[in-house]
């Protein structure tokens, strides 16, 4: 009898331990109503961690949405900027079990008209393994008068809100309450569940790249497991600004946390050391007005005009400066799936600085894509219609 009780307790303990090992990949996508701008926030949440960040609508330049994953959310709690209001807000924030923050990056830029700081917790749904409970805490702050620079607490309005609901795993779910706040964008959330060390990288990778990747993984002396990598894609545009046109062709940005893999699908050899992978999907924008106007009527455009960047990081060694890693980048600027190779995969060994990270400037390639889909004819000259007007870079930083 005693043995049975011991076994039961042990099994219960193992069950709890197994549950806490569940990890979630959380992805929030904000798409502009015209579908030309998209922001994806992706993060892996382990155990009791929370997902924190912010959205804000800009006041200067162009009024588009900015989003970022950031512990503590938006920096409007900085009392140097917002005076007593910050103390009041901080008090409210702490009282409501929000995290206390120390973010300093945006404290000098009261450029928003509306900002929303969020804190998301995922709770296991004991009744259904296919869904989870989401507990979202939000603080919405807005300028009462958008033409006035806020100088005192009365210039700003604050609203704290809570949401608690269940969502199915591995499915996109609309976040309508965010659309009500930022009316120019649609928001979706997707949560994938996985168990650590049981993930197999299921990506169609270039054979040459794969071979190099295996060699790098073998060479890796990186045994430290306390690091994660954050990846951000930046597309800088210097297309001649022509009022409405400029507004249409804005860049997209993605922040993503690279996930760790020990296996790659269809590769018989297990990786000697883990590699980190993430992909970035951003809308492809043509900087050729007549073509853009022509293609805007095409039904196939959304599926085709989509760029995908796959980023693999193989940590090699550690030094005083940072982590030396082999970074692999494979990208397709259009989703054509016609077997024709138009873009060249890249591998570069670099040091990812502990504090500053590293920014990789992507090359400009001269490619063409002349094809027909569902009777719709596309003639895209990569350099003249796109590359000439942009600089693309990928920023990688360490998350400890």
């Amino acid at each position: 009898m005693e043995k049975n009780i011991t076994l039961f307790v042990l099994l219960a303990f193992l069950n709890v331990t197994a549950q806490t090992k569940d990890n979630y990949e959380i992805k929030i996508t904000a798409s502009s109503n015209n579908n030309l701008r998209q922001i994806n926030l992706v993060k892996v949440i382990k155990n009791q961690e929370t997902f924190e960040g912010y959205f804000y609508s800009r006041k200067v330049f162009e009024p588009y949405l900015v989003a970022k994953i950031n512990d503590g959310g938006f920096s409007f709690l900085d009392s140097e900027v917002y005076g007593n209001f910050a103390d009041y807000l901080k008090e409210k924030w702490v009282d409501n079990n929000f995290v206390d923050i120390g973010l300093s990056e945006l404290t000098q830029a009261p450029e928003f008209t509306k900002a929303l700081s969020f804190n998301i917790s995922i709770l296991r749904n004991k009744k259904s393994a296919d869904s989870v409970h989401l507990f979202i805490k939000c603080a919405e702050i807005a300028l009462k008068d958008t033409n006035k620079i806020p100088s005192k607490e009365t210039d700003l309005s604050l609203k704290l809100d809570y949401k608690y609901f269940s969502i199915p795993l591995n499915q996109d779910v609309n976040l309508a309450f965010l659309t009500q706040i930022f009316k120019d964008s649609d928001f979706k959330i997707r949560i994938n569940s996985f168990k650590e060390n049981e993930r197999i990288l299921d990506e169609d990778l270039n054979e040459a790249l794969l071979n190099k990747l295996l060699i790098s993984a073998k060479e890796s002396k990186f045994k430290e497991q306390d690091y994660n990598f954050s990846v951000q894609f930046c597309r800088n545009i210097f297309y001649p600004m022509k009022d409405e046109v400029a507004k249409k062709y804005f860049a997209s940005v993605e922040c993503a946390e690279a996930l760790k893999y020990n296996e790659i699908k269809n590769v018989p050899v297990k990786l000697a050391n883990p590699v980190y992978f993430t992909s970035v999907d951003v809308p492809f924008c043509l900087y050729n007005e007549s073509k853009m106007e022509k293609y805007s009527k095409y039904k196939t455009k959304e599926a085709i005009l989509q760029a995908k960047y796959k980023i693999l990081i193989v940590p090699i060694s550690e030094s005083v400066e940072g982590i030396t890693a082999d970074v692999f980048i494979s990208y397709t600027k259009l989703q054509l799936n016609d077997g024709i190779k138009r873009w060249t995969p890249i591998m570069k060994r670099m040091t990812i600085n502990y504090r500053d990270g590293v920014r990789i400037e992507l090359p400009k390639e001269n490619w063409t894509a002349n094809f027909t889909r569902s009777g719709e004819q596309y003639d895209i000259f990569g350099y003249y219609d796109y590359e000439k007007f942009i600089d693309e870079s990928i920023y990688i930083s360490l998350i400890k």
Partner: protein, 200 residues
């Protein structure tokens, strides 16, 4: 008779209406006191007249100027001058009144213009404040402090400086100091895993 004293006074001054004189004299004939009063007042008037005539010769200025026939022309001339002056004053007043109406309209117009200018000024002031804020913000973010794209509601547009943007002073990099200041790695030909796809 009521007010007999008043009527006697009027009579003495030749101001008693003729239609009342019959009753007046009838009353006098029946009332001794009234007759005496009339007599006294008449004497008083006569005495005053004689006294006036006595002192007339000693006066240096013509006391009869007002009523004297010799000064009638002069009096009329003064009257005409006064009438002309009044007319002139009237014309001037009307003219001023008309001008005042015009001025009123001008003032209203000026007020509208003033309000419009004031609004524009306020708008511009806000824009400038905003620009200064943005500029100071951008300058803190920027190494070379060059101009970047600014487009405001008032239509102020600073042309984008391509070189500045190429130096990564663009929309996203200036937003995030970390990215802008991060060490940069450039991809060279040797970094391509396969032969570069050119012109395919």
């Amino acid at each position: 008779m009521k007010d007999i004293e008043y009527k006697i006074s009027l009579f003495i001054d030749n101001e008693l209406p003729e239609n009342e004189q019959a009753d007046f004299f009838k009353y006098l004939s029946e009332d001794k006191d009234s007759r005496e009063m009339l007599s006294d007042l008449n004497k008083m008037k006569t005495g005053l007249k004689e006294h006036y005539n006595d002192i007339k010769g000693d006066m240096d200025f013509p006391l009869t100027l007002v009523k004297g026939n010799d000064n009638e022309k002069k009096y009329k001339t003064y009257f005409y001058y006064a009438a002309a002056a009044s007319l002139l004053f009237l014309i001037l007043s009307i003219s001023l009144l008309v001008n005042a109406q015009f001025y009123k309209e001008d003032i209203n117009k000026s007020k509208t213009v003033y309000e419009s200018v004031k609004n524009d000024n306020e708008k511009l002031k806000n824009e400038i404040t905003q620009l200064i804020t943005e500029k100071s913000y951008l300058q803190t973010e920027s190494h070379d402090k060059k101009t970047v794209i600014l487009k405001t509601a008032a239509g102020i547009k600073i042309t984008p400086n391509k070189n500045t943007i190429k130096n990564n002073e663009s929309y996203y990099t200036f937003l995030d100091n970390k990215i802008k200041n991060a060490p940069v790695v450039k991809i060279s030909k040797s970094d391509f895993i396969t032969q570069q796809m050119i012109g395919n």
